[in-house]
Amino acid sequence: MNEKAEHSFPLDVVLKILLLLGFSTFFLYAVFSGAYVKYVHPRILPYMVFTAAVMILTSILMFTDVLKSKKSDKNSWGLIFFVIPLILAFSIPSTTLSSQSQVISNVQISNNASTDNNSSESKTATKEKIIMTDRNYYSNLYNFFSTPEAYVGQTVELVGFVYVDDSLAENQFVIARYIMTCCAADMSLCGMVCNYDQSSSLKSDTWVKVTGTLCTQEFNGKKEPCIQVVGIEETQAPAQEYIYPY
């Protein structure tokens, strides 16, 4: 190693330490502010804390190391790839997806609609109203889609946002929620078609509470559940906007 390098400032190591601290700060910030559920499934929480801890520890060790290190002739330009997402992470607020942003646009209106014959024991419509909560939203939806006939006439109540697209008729809209199975990259829109005469008066992305009875109708050649709207009212967005099945 030459004399010159021996005294050069270890820029790359210092940058790496700052980046590690930056990422761990972001992770911890996301965890403590609760914003992390916009990025990942809540079950990922321990991994985020663990990652932050390892990053902090690593940066401390790197720091003790940099005092001893003799040379630094590495090119630091590659680190720009780490700087950009970090800046973006802090500067762009973690908004929730709206139907406009259509990221994963495999609109699962026809969510599960499996042709499989094996699935669940068909429950017949009960007299009681099924209230779809954050917890049972997916399982209920799943049941409705696997045996639509069994639920005809069933009264349901659910909260979701209004989603409209070209495949729907004039008097229809979709009441939908985003479902996250692992992270924001696998988000998909799940919901049911609602029959409602004043559908055109509804604005996309407004949160509504719908009460109605289940019906079935053909959609792309398949029988799928739909809701005959009885009551509809605008509401606040739920505290947890995404659904996290499993």
Partner: protein, 236 residues
């Protein structure tokens, strides 16, 4: 690196099948497909078969398909632990504390070495997800061979991890033949944008391209045959 003693073909086979046959992936596939055990079972079988065929081809054409590592600048190192090899096979005795410290420092180096490609891959993938509406694919033909190619292309660009891709695949069951959806599940974990970039961080371009082409071709062949005889014929 200490891989010298291991056979590349075995290593590759390992790399290709690991994301498909691990228990979490099997369970998530099982759940995603309505507790239908056939999907995870066939996914595992076809994944193993494909990996095996690729491994065998690599064994036969060892010289032509060798993966040539890039002589990384990182490896002529200057960071703290004056070791010559990344996996602690050098002979100097080190205390546990020193080893632990080395481990953390190496983890940090790896993070910056590989993370770069991960970030670029994530960037490309999210651009594709944002810019190409999926409905484009919905309208494409349902012809079997074409649908396999389309689903494989989707798997390639979406780069979803194998633990959650089954849920994405599920939403295509109503739009694509089952053989095509299965090819999404088998090909996706083996090759995608992210994977390709990460491979190219360690190996020379030529050898990475050869491997990618090999994986893709074998997948197309096996999935076409499987779709023709098994999958679309009502096995699942």
């Amino acid at each position: 690196m200490c891989y010298k003693t291991r056979v590349l073909a075995v290593e590759t086979e390992d790399m290709l099948s690991a994301p498909i046959i691990n228990p979490i992936v099997i369970i998530s596939t099982f759940y995603a497909f309505d507790l239908n055990f056939k999907w995870p079972l066939i996914r595992v079988c076809l994944g193993l078969l494909t990996a095996l065929v690729i491994g065998l081809i690599m064994l036969v054409f060892q010289d032509k398909l060798a993966m040539i590592p890039i002589k990384s600048k990182n490896h002529e190192h200057d960071h703290a632990c004056d070791c010559h090899c990344h996996c602690g096979c050098d002979k100097e005795k080190k205390t546990f504390g020193q080893k632990l410290k080395m481990m953390f420092l190496h983890t940090g180096e790896e993070f910056f070495g590989v993370g770069k490609y991960l970030i670029i891959g994530a960037f490309i993938t999210s651009m594709i997800q944002m810019l190409i509406p999926k409905s484009v694919f919905d309208k494409l033909s349902m012809q079997s061979w074409l649908s396999i190619l389309i689903m494989m292309f989707l798997a390639f660009v979406f780069s979803a991890c194998s633990t959650s891709d089954a849920f994405i695949a599920k939403s295509y069951v109503s739009k694509f033949p089952k053989g095509a959806v299965m090819s999404f599940l088998v090909y996706g974990p083996m090759m995608d944008v992210k994977n390709l970039l990460m491979l190219s961080s360690n190996f020379k371009k030529g050898s990475v391209i050869k491997l990618a082409v090999l994986i893709t071709v074998v997948n197309i062949l096996i999935m076409s045959i499987a779709s023709m005889f098994l999958l679309n014929g009502g096995l699942i």
